[in-house]
Amino acid sequence: MGCGVSKSNLFQKSDSKAVTSIKAAVLIQHWYRQYVARMELKRRYTWHIFQSLEYSGEQAQIKLYNFLGYLMDNFTPSSNERNLISHFFRENEVCRDSEWERFFDYKNIDVPEIYSGPHLTFPLTLEQGSGLVDAFRNKRQLHSRYVLQLLLDTWRLLRKFPNISRVSTCQSKEITICGDLHGQLEDLLLIFYKNGMPSHERPYVFNGDFVDRGDNSIEVLLILFSFLLLYPNDVHLNRGNHEDHIVNLRYGFTKEVLTKYKMHGKRILKLLQKIFSWLPLATVIDQKVLVLHGGISDTTDLSVLARVDRHKYVSALRPPKKRHPSTANVSVDYEEEVWSSGRRRSSVALPRPLTRGTFQNTSLPDFSDRVRPPVGGAAERRGRLALQGALLGGSQQALGAAAGTGPSQDSGESSDHSEDEWKQILDLLWSDPMTQDGCVPNEVRGGGCYWGPDVTDDFLSRHNMTLIIRSHECKQEGYEFCHNRKVLTLFSASNYYDVASNRGAYVKLGPDLVPYLIQYQASSKTRELTVRQRVGQTEHSALRVLRKQLFSHKSDLISAFQDLDKENTGLVSLKDWAEAVEGVMHLGLPWRMLRSQLISRRASDGAVDYRQWFTELAIQEPNMEHIEKGLLEMLYRHRSTLETIFRIVDTDNSGVINMEDFRQTWKLLSIYLKMEFTEEAISDLAVAIDTNGDGCIDIQEFMEAFRLSDKKSRLERGRSMFMGTAHDLQRPETVDPDL
């Protein structure tokens, strides 16, 4: 051994043994510390990848919502497009609460003898409560009759609660607070295992985001609600931004309920909509510690929040419904007022053609400037799109239209009030802390604010409090303090981005109000992996997802490269490559650092052959040669948005839409995405999917038909991956056996 060429002269023959030992030790130590630093780097950018993709998905959702709002403002009521989605914006029925109770009646639902799940009688007993937990642990499903019953009782109970729950730690009780669970039943069971189930002696606060993304959202909800019914004074639920039917459409909860409860899913969802709107907004412990889901802004005022009619805000993403003053318990949609009073918008069959230049991000139009005049000097924080005031903008115009109509003279004033209240709620559910002072709109998510340490200090002193506990953001250790330990972020869904991506945590507060944190990680798999393996596995998943994202923006990327490659050499420098990619993707990722993972071949001077690059990224296209390539790419890229729109169009939540609605959907999309779809192309699509020729498209089938696979990983594993909603993207169906 000892190849003279490759060895440096670190070890001299003349060195004494002691000296050699020390040199050897130092060598290893140096190496190791370098290795740790590099792992940390990897971990950071992997995290960054998942988080950017998650937030850009949320942003996309809000943009979609703005688009629909835009349509509502610009189409006549008779046009097909408006009808398609108008139900979505209307709480259509004019109903008293008692009528709703009839609608949700469960008594005529029979429970068949073969049903093997738990049977419930009401009022619930403790045995039934823990029985339910056991049943779910054993993968049973609760029958829809009991679900409706349970939900009805929950609804009745929640209506009695104030907006802000007040709790005390008297009697030396420790309160346990949990963060986001996102349908991850395993984590909830782990918490109960470690900490015990809720009881008089063991009060709990659950801080929102119980549903979406995970596979057991309904089970998590049912467990939380049953404990709420058993211990109404000791279990406190705060609303999260995912307790919102609009968000649920995209992030999996709606789909989960409709899949598990085919017959009664629609009613269950409707009832849940009401329940969500009745969830309390925050919890205050010993008047000193504030627990809420997202955060605060510089205008957050607990006394305002205590007074709002929280149930008016069925979705935090919609402006509040206006109350018709003469009918107290009845909700009337303000839009009905506008139309019925004879004020109509100038009718346009289709909006005028939108040019590329209108939008900043060509792949997803931002309609915020269409719903109100753009704010001057919209800042681009971290290179992301500014959606400043997007939601407020939408409401301003809509409310502005309502104000000035006949019925209510003081509508102007109440619309101001409503708007302020709405902003308070939005901030509460969607905001994130930042390290700099100040308070700016949170354009990454598209709702709420970023608030700084000065805002925290001011808020705490105004309200005479000492600590804010919030959730909303995934943290690697399950929790994180910031703002000089005055704000605690708590996240209870472990392995959220991927197996072993992060721990979960819960906090216990005793009368001394000193937070005591407990961490955990569900799934025995992760404990067997070394740090390196864990980081490696997560990195692998993140990159896989990223490659797909890149591929789905192929046309935009190629044209960006071509802009830089004026002489048409087919090559771009590394610097240009990184700039172009960021310019198209807007994810704020360290592309240079990722290059060795994303590009395998480079010229000796580091230049990138971009056409070649796409062959590498390569996705196996589905068996639809007759479908135009541009269309396929568009479908693939916007599959989440597509699915969301389908579900909106599917008015009876049956999972199936008819051919006519299918065509109308494409018309909607062609406007939204500024792409021309020929009638032919759409027919081809329809025919391809409607395999039984009954004139109906099954949404699920449609999405599956466009299953695309990553050629690279297919070669590795010989399997294809299902590309579904954002929910599916972040949770690969199966763990790669090679890892």
């Binding site: 290893i28 130590q29 190791y32 610097k575």
Partner: protein, 157 residues
């Protein structure tokens, strides 16, 4: 063959861009700066091997308070990176040679226990946690480490 003890040439433009990106990843505040306390880690992530003492000296011997609170931007950081770049880097054979020192029986293995003692008492002492992480999965049933495989494994990151 280049004398590894000689100082490296100036960083290329590409290298500087790479460093800048990595630097940006460690900026958790968003002010295009990093804390003094992060500088050593960033340097290591970029392939250098400074000791914590060296880094502190380069930063101008700041107090503990300064280390925790003061921040530095990329333009000030880059020349510091240059300074530590002169430290000789080990190759595969260097590491193997270094570990062979502890190979008492000359059979390609070292005792895990001995390695632990050495790493925690000599040179820039490692903590028990660091050593555990380093050695995880490396010792066989007899508590021995096959060091050539070990080095191959650790260098494959």
């Amino acid at each position: 063959m280049a004398d590894p003890a000689a100082p490296a040439a100036e960083f290329s433009a590409d290298q500087v861009e790479d460093f800048k990106e990595a630097f940006g990843l460690f900026d958790r505040v968003g002010d295009s700066q990093v804390a003094f306390s992060q500088v050593a880690d960033i340097m290591r992530a970029l392939g250098q091997n400074p000791t914590n003492k060296e880094v502190r000296a380069i930063l101008g011997s700041p107090s503990d308070d300064d280390m925790a609170n003061k921040r530095i931007n990329f333009e000030s950081f880059l020349p510091m990176l240059k300074v530590v770049d002169t430290a000789p880097k080990g190759t595969y054979d260097d590491y193997v040679e270094g570990l062979r020192v502890f190979d008492k029986e000359g059979n390609g293995t070292v005792m895990g226990a001995e390695l632990r003692i050495v790493l925690s008492t000599l040179g820039e002492k490692m903590s028990e946690q660091e050593i555990d992480a380093l050695m995880q999965g490396q010792e066989d049933e007899n508590g021995s480490v096959h060091y050539e495989a070990f080095v191959k494994h650790i260098m494959s990151i």
